[in-house]
């Protein structure tokens, strides 16, 4: 865990721990040995180096973080974070590993006026991640409402929402990535599918030139608000490819 604490931001490390704790809750409730603390793995790909490319991978159920490092440059793309249960009690406190993501998304949706909502809300179900596993290297046509149609305040809310994934990385790296996303904010789309009542199970997506994030509640085996999959991608730099491809 010390490696993870060093590799991620305090916010990112807390998220990792909360997802793992949730998986332990799932193991206890289900009796399935495939879940729980002990089923998470750390991998090093390549030789850790101050200059050459290498990768730190950490994952288990509902977690697949791929940190590619090339000198001082770092990317988290592509990575998966999920939660099941997405809300649980631990030491007398309610824990929501993806709670800020959920709350910020509903806040942004609430901040849209009727005409903006009409653009943002897609009129069909999206039951899973569109660019999840098996879709490396693919990219879809953007949909929803474009950043150019948002107010300054709404753009800040969109950036704040994206920061929940980007902020898993160490602060300096996350700040640089956020600056890049901000630069393209008017070309960044926000899309929503599903109910709009706060706390309901709804899908959303952030899609910009250098960032692609999906949040997809799962209907698998129960309450979809308790089972969330998300993915973080960078259409220009999956696995840090732009830094080490000749």
């Amino acid at each position: 865990m010390a490696v993870l604490a060093a590799a991620f931001s305090p916010q990112g490390y807390d998220k990792v721990r909360q997802i793992m704790e949730g998986d332990e809750v799932l193991r206890t409730a289900s009796g399935e040995a495939m879940f729980g603390h002990d089923e998470y793995y750390v991998s090093f790909l390549g030789q850790p180096s101050a200059t050459a490319p290498w990768m730190l991978q950490f994952g288990g159920h509902h977690l697949g973080l791929n940190l590619t490092l090339v000198g001082e440059r770092v990317t988290l793309a592509p990575s998966h974070a999920g939660a099941q249960p997405a809300r649980y009690e631990l030491a007398g406190k309610t824990v929501r590993p993806l709670g800020r993501e959920t709350d910020k998304a509903f806040a942004l949706l609430s901040a849209l006026d009727a005409a903006q909502r009409q653009q943002a809300i897609l009129g069909f179900q999206i039951r899973d991640l569109v660019l999840g596993p098996g879709r490396d290297g693919a990219m879809i046509q953007p949909e929803g409402i474009e950043g150019s149609a948002l107010t300054e305040q709404q753009r800040e809310m969109l950036l704040g929402l994206a920061s929940e994934w980007i902020g898993i990385m160490p602060e300096a790296v996350a700040n640089a990535k956020m600056a890049e996303v901000r630069q393209h904010i008017t070309d960044t789309w926000f899309a929503w599918s599903g109910p709009t009542e706060k706390g309901s199970a709804a899908y959303f997506r952030i899609h910009g030139p250098t960032v692609f994030i999906e949040y997809a509640p799962q209907r698998l085996g129960g309450d979809p608000t308790q089972h969330i999959h998300t993915i973080y991608r960078d259409p220009t730099n999956e696995y840090g490819v732009k830094w080490w491809t000749p």
Partner: protein, 196 residues
């Protein structure tokens, strides 16, 4: 020095590609069969990239259509036959004319992996419509394969060619039916060739 490093980077790229991707698969499917279609529209033609992910609870039902002799191995002929079954259930039209599909890529995990909810069958179909003509077009798609257990996704891929512009996408509620309207502009001499 740079020349010496490049092969190492290529090896690392391969390593990352092979090892990193499975970590994204660790949230397994349970009781649904995900059928996701990505439509790549390029000047040379249209391709469908379809991924099929059976959940653990429906894997045996799906495998019964693939591993027909139930020997625990997906033979080449069995894989081909299951692709035909899927193809039979897909209806694709370009500008209201039904187009045929030609299977170009198919990869099948083992039955054991498919039963975990992590295994993904990846298929690609080319349409026989041929190169696009300049102007506006509409592609419609319907997937009738195993509707009682399936969840569908239908999306246009971001075109790699600037000559193709997606103008709208429509779906029914469960995305088993969709339509993509697009414009193909005559490409310039500088238009990069499609790698599809």
């Amino acid at each position: 020095m740079v020349d010496a490093v490049i092969p190492l980077l290529r090896c690392l790229a391969l390593l990352l590609g092979l090892v990193a991707v499975p970590s994204l698969v660790l949230a397994h499917r349970l009781d649904e069969y995900l059928q996701a279609t990505l439509v790549a529209i390029e000047p040379r033609g249209v391709r469908l990239h379809i991924t099929l992910t059976p959940g653990m609870a429906v894997a045996d039902q799906v495998l019964a259509l693939i591993d027909r002799n139930r020997d625990g191995v997906i033979a080449t002929k069995e894989a081909a036959a299951s692709c035909q079954l899927l193809k039979r259930d897909l209806v694709v039209r370009l500008d209201h004319q039904k187009v045929e599909l030609k299977l170009t890529v198919s990869t099948f995990p083992t039955p054991t992996e498919l039963r975990t909810g992590w295994g993904i069958i990846a298929l690609a179909f080319a349409t026989t419509a041929g190169p696009l003509t300049a102007g506006t077009h509409e592609l419609t798609f319907e997937n009738r394969h195993l509707p009682t257990v399936s969840v569908y996704l239908f999306n246009a891929a971001l075109p790699r060619s600037g000559a193709v512009q997606i103008t709208s996408q429509q779906r029914n509620d469960d995305q088993s039916v969709g339509a993509i309207a697009f414009t193909f502009l005559l490409s310039t001499p500088h238009e990069p060739a499609s790698t599809e």
